[in-house]
Symmetry: D2
Subunit: 357 residues, 4 copies
Amino acid sequence: MSDEHDHGSDDGDSEADGESHHEPERETFSHDPVGHAEVRAGMTVGELADQYGNAGVGAADLHEAVDVTESMFDDDVTVFFGLAGAMVPTGMRRIVADLIREGHIDVLVTTGANLTHDAIEAIGGKHHHGEVHAEGKTEREHDETLRDEGVDRIYNVYLPQEFFADFESHLREEVFPVLEEECEEEGAVSIQRLTEELGRANAAVNERDDVDEGPGIAAAAYENDVPIYCPAVQDSVLGLQAWMYSQTGAFTLDALADMTPLTDIAFHAEEAGAFVVGGGVPKNFTLQTMLVAPDAYDYAVQLTMDPKQTGGLSGATLDEARSWGKLEKDADNVSVYADATITFPLVVAAALDRLEN
Amino acid sequence: MSDEHDHGSDDGDSEADGESHHEPERETFSHDPVGHAEVRAGMTVGELADQYGNAGVGAADLHEAVDVTESMFDDDVTVFFGLAGAMVPTGMRRIVADLIREGHIDVLVTTGANLTHDAIEAIGGKHHHGEVHAEGKTEREHDETLRDEGVDRIYNVYLPQEFFADFESHLREEVFPVLEEECEEEGAVSIQRLTEELGRANAAVNERDDVDEGPGIAAAAYENDVPIYCPAVQDSVLGLQAWMYSQTGAFTLDALADMTPLTDIAFHAEEAGAFVVGGGVPKNFTLQTMLVAPDAYDYAVQLTMDPKQTGGLSGATLDEARSWGKLEKDADNVSVYADATITFPLVVAAALDRLEN
Amino acid sequence: MSDEHDHGSDDGDSEADGESHHEPERETFSHDPVGHAEVRAGMTVGELADQYGNAGVGAADLHEAVDVTESMFDDDVTVFFGLAGAMVPTGMRRIVADLIREGHIDVLVTTGANLTHDAIEAIGGKHHHGEVHAEGKTEREHDETLRDEGVDRIYNVYLPQEFFADFESHLREEVFPVLEEECEEEGAVSIQRLTEELGRANAAVNERDDVDEGPGIAAAAYENDVPIYCPAVQDSVLGLQAWMYSQTGAFTLDALADMTPLTDIAFHAEEAGAFVVGGGVPKNFTLQTMLVAPDAYDYAVQLTMDPKQTGGLSGATLDEARSWGKLEKDADNVSVYADATITFPLVVAAALDRLEN
Amino acid sequence: MSDEHDHGSDDGDSEADGESHHEPERETFSHDPVGHAEVRAGMTVGELADQYGNAGVGAADLHEAVDVTESMFDDDVTVFFGLAGAMVPTGMRRIVADLIREGHIDVLVTTGANLTHDAIEAIGGKHHHGEVHAEGKTEREHDETLRDEGVDRIYNVYLPQEFFADFESHLREEVFPVLEEECEEEGAVSIQRLTEELGRANAAVNERDDVDEGPGIAAAAYENDVPIYCPAVQDSVLGLQAWMYSQTGAFTLDALADMTPLTDIAFHAEEAGAFVVGGGVPKNFTLQTMLVAPDAYDYAVQLTMDPKQTGGLSGATLDEARSWGKLEKDADNVSVYADATITFPLVVAAALDRLEN
């Protein structure tokens, strides 16, 4: 057998007597034993996050994410929050709105899709749990039936299409006219102005119509002076609606105008944190914001399911972002590679728990 | 614009007055609105799991997994637990041992690697947190240094190799001799007999040497008459050690003997549940057990990160297992596709919480 | 043993005599035996694709993708090509440019990042193979060194930052001034106008400076009247440059203007095909284009590594798009879930092979 | 704007004149420009692999895999081939058999499932292409129907269950009796002895019954004196059948016996290469083989879809294996993270192409 390494020596005597052996000098690691996670009934999410700290791989990453998030939620840190993917249709809307209201988010970068679904719920529409395919139908036939019945499917969440008609009315009555007037006077409005007015309208209609579901993310942002940036707004039903309305009047959107105030915020941030859920444009745009600031992010948390070896930006590690100057050299950053609908509520709950204690 | 679907009609009047519209008849879904997860400081894991039930995709799967696990932990259900992957080195050891002691696991199917690491910790060895690569070294150079320094790396967990020497002594002194005698009398022993004796020895040494870390999984199984099956034991350091010892005496292992008692347990189970963490042999062997029983699993939970379109068994859906007769037609089954070091503690904590309330 | 299914009957006699048994009636599948892929030295890519057709899972999907692509490249089909991810830095630039020149792409939707990198190569910059971390450095330290040395890393591809200075000059001298004049006269220009002028300038400079590398994608599009749409242009260095330039003059971009001509093309397409590499905005925007057309895509191919159960759009199945009316009910569509830098050249090579024979 | 990095300087003059700039000294990378893949109709797979060498990420990995495989197929290298996953049902059987016959595989480590399916095809059974769910059925209902109709599903490949009855007869008539006799004389037989006899019987029946499909992997191994190791044989229908037969006679399997000859081969190999398709036991057992040899693998290629951050062995990087002494410090190793049904035929075809030229 090999002398190379000690997976078992022929002479077992030296260990036979149970003596502890002195640990050889090693540069490869410091004493940091892996503990074991322990769970019990009634434990809090904060306690679970602590237990994760005893474990390895994903659990350890999540534990670290809670630490970094706790630091980020400190008052002196300007938090840039990137929200991608179908986070609103999948039930994450409330958590984001609450974070905004509690002052933990200073800037939001998201997709037109999330704003669309957020608005639909604000004005009374509802997404429904469904199946990827219903009883008695294949996935393909089921999608064909959905199409015939006017129901859109987002994985296993349904959205009846009449809600899109409501959304259109909402925009044409409550949102676009004011913006069109501004366009008549000043030229194109910024996309942020659109999201701001959308938030105002969502809040107003939600209250006026006494809608069960809360007013949501855009409303919370409006009411708390948190700007929402949506660089790819055309890539959504909101964008389609804006385009259709723009055909018949002065209303249009300026694609670049938002980058000035956003850069200002980044420039003036004492400390900056990036919290990114999912990948895509919200992630890249959030990180890119620091390219033209003298400082970069001091804190960064990324919750994503995208594997990192694909070369695409969404799975790119935050360390890679360091090469671009998007992260400070000594930034606290961590990525958790798991389904964000599981990790996001968990990280937030645990971080809030820490802040309270 | 298309008449095809209602992503916005030119005539907004009918919706303008805010009337609720009657919902058309739809077979594609029933009223089951997606709620939104809400989190707060101090919430329990059980409450978080409930909140997941409001959400979609992974969160909804996890919520369902908690439900099914709660059902499985009922006394009348015989639980077959499959544990793959590096669950012991990554901090999951305690949870599994506790589940065994609490009577929630009736049969354990696992890998030689997990038994190896479990034993090492029982007798006083420790895994350590480390980096995938240490300061000042590339990943490759770092692994070369680890090799030179006698440290094995499992992703970002380290294991100094002298612990393998301890493990060998442990086996040669406390475990193999008794088995060798049995072999001299009765021929080869079963693999389960090996795991049983290993558990007995782990418990004994752990107590005798007053080791800080608990006696672990195999010890708990031994003390609670829970058989451990390990079909691929040769594929591990435990298996290597067994082989080396077998060179010099009568000791050897029977590859098939365990399938008889395992089949008996399956045959006589009133209700059966399969809880599978990871994939690989433990998963397949656990599911396969039902192939020769008249009934199949009534409950099944799978926690895995393996994507399901690869064709490999690890990512195979539990529904696919239904075609093989491994699941009852009306089995409650769910898969959660996310890092198991995150989901496993979470699901167990929430299920225990439910059982208590 | 179970009577449930025939994984082995005790009575082997009936099969023992080697008689073929009549196949019972089954609705679950038709006779379509899986063959086996066979490979040999010197085989063409087209032949390899044929062999994939004998196999299952990913290989079968890829085979089907070749079929659909072949159909799409037919002259009567208007092809909308979505290109996401870091496809230019990872060596896919030439293939896309060639497809445009050969008339196989009618509309291109892509990211600002791809246009940025495409331009940089057109004017003489080069990406370099590198390591995720260089000898003697950790991944993090390496990224810090890259930062100090002015080199950006995209996974394992490097881009020295002086090329971004060249890119800026290129834009400020060759591209923006013309557009600024148009803005002075007509108000904001469309993003497509920007990409068009960029392509013209890339072609001109590439020739004038006798650059080794070809003029690239935007140049090919310009020379072949293929419009390039880039809804999220602000999310890129190109967008940053546009913004900086817009600070000092009349130049700005209209976020919505492109949706009119794009919708026209979709409206008038006899048959339409969507070929999407990666996910993100290019994918969604390409599929969304059909929402306001009476017809939808007849053909769709998606090459992506995004797993489909995450709920995010990038991994959404094309079948899901059917529920939204983005695909015709009888559309030929297929997704290949694998690294696109591997599958894209392969699918294109095989499809071109088919077209020739 | 930041002085930190050169994403654009306000002063464009220095680059405006088109001068080439001297490249600063950099340790981070050497001149190794990324080219661009180019494809054309009629190109060979070898040419495609060369083109991948110009590209990045997965394509570059695949190119390197071809290089390493070419080296491995050299006569002086002893190749240990690990085959996991459902590679036989998904059409990869022929390629492996051919590699064995051409002398490119010296040792095979695989799963009982692959041997089962390989034998079934050898004796006349066929797998069929199917759908994950058939027309008019949900995935779950479809699997229930499959179960009722006696058809097993492996993702989208079907296997009628009567073939399992044939397989049982085959084993009981052609394979087990000889082994039972050996057991009566010498005690348990090794698992390799079982696979050897299975291969002999597959070849014999395949010829005798004039079966269309080739005799397959085990037959090729038998005819070329290539030992097949299957440490987890119990975890398969083959294992179930062996167990059932063992109930009624002297036949049984020795779980450890194979490790002696396998270690001998490893010990005496001048140069050793590991080619691993998929993960699981075949991968680990193949790599583990070198733990007790003075040398380790000089070459290693891994084709897998398992992401590497899960902590499980299947996705573990080959670099990690270096820390365990399973790879030589200067081993040529590469992993390609993509669907193996796509990459495996491709890599083999290209490597064979290289060998011929």
